[in-house]
Amino acid sequence: MKNISSDDLCHDINSSLSALLSSLEIIKEEWKTNPELVDRLLPLSVEKIHQLQAQMQKFNQSLK
């Protein structure tokens, strides 16, 4: 596993959260009016959740 500094890890978690929050907000607002966009965002959001999960595991390990 690539060694990652705590600053970089914080950055990655913040970035993932930001991407997810933005996309979920848009999905909430546009699923009826713009389903094509939601179709693009949904799989990317799922992928991002997995990324976030991995980042949080690293974060938890760093606390131990």
């Binding site: 600053d7 950055h11 933005s22 996309s23 546009e30 959001s45």
Partner: protein
Amino acid sequence: MKKILLNLLVVEDDLLSRLSLKARLECYGWVNEASSKSEAIAALEVHRFDLAFVDLDLEHHLAGLEILSSLKALGIYIVILSGREEESVVEKAYQLGANDFLNKPFTQTGLERVLAKFEAHLNRDQSLQKLKLAFLTNDSSMEAELASVHQAMLSQRPILITGESGTGKTYLAKFIHQLSQPFSQGPFVHLNCAEFSESLIEAELFGHEKGAFTGAHKKKKGLLELAHEGILFLDEIACMPLAVQKKLLKAIEEKCFYPLGAEVVVHSNFRLISATCEDLSQKMTDGEFRSDLFFRIEGFNLHLKPLRERRSDLSLLIAHFMKLGERRIAFDSDAKELLMSYQWPGNVRELQRVIEVLQTKDFGIVSALDLQRLLQKSTKSAKTESSVLPNDEIADLGLKNYIEKMEVDIVNNVLKKNNNKVRKTLTDLKISNNSFYRILENAKKFERL
């Protein structure tokens, strides 16, 4: 932000973030995407952009910083997006020309704040010009102060306006309201703290339920509630009673409060502008103003200079006020000299009043004597040097008693003028409660003499 069509650039390597931001921005204009530094540079060669959102970490650590100089050179407004928490990164971004910094994760409100700030930036020259025209100034330090007014308008932080009576504090507060987003859409609620007693000011600010106190015949909304989404202007805040200061502090911090007698909390989102002609530092030292409240109300400090310190503006102001009246008058050369050399203790307000009064008189050409009479009336309570010469009364009373008697006379006159309103009198005379009651005690002594 008003819907104006903009050319926007989003430089972001993460596809989900890029698509989401693009979707959010499309209502503002045309959005061009770039996923790397090279794509961004290529886009800059083809298109002209108004605003660029730049993620700091692109293909490598902080690669976004490397394109800031190119964006800046093209006059593009730069907003940095980053999940980095290191202060050094923020500092570096601003050094390289960023205009704003949006921390990830950001909310829709955060994005709207950035866009409102950008809109204000677009209007900067226009609003600065408006401010200069409104304040009629060519004074360089006043111009610098007005530039900070513009900065204050862009922010949502509290504003504290200081300056002597008559310098235009209320006028400035109203002006800020007109030009500050998003609060210009909301109300401008004005309270002069010097005009109310402690119990009344509390009821005015926070409102009350029916029966909350004797005389509360019906429920009344407080000014804090009425100022929701707008501006709350607390004039003469130095006169705010200590007990109310504590409650106000809590309301400012938490944006919510309980009206008198109410059990349900009221939420209100307002921008606070305070004004005072007093020295709040001195009031804090004297224990008459809470320091925690002071630090809450002084987000931006704006100081309006007295007229005697911006004499270069006198001609502009005189010409302006002369045009406002229907009747044209002229000043002879001595009168002009007096206008320019007078100290104007009542500042712009006094100047305006003097010209208004002169315009109602019979004469067409104002002489120095005509003007002198009016100026003496205007400052009859302020003794000039020549009138404080030793006289028989000093010989009778002694200097100490004479000075005390003068204090009593001045306080009585101002009290009478203010219809016996103590708080207003304290403000006008810039004296503390203790001084006021000491002078009243002295009054008894002189009644006996």
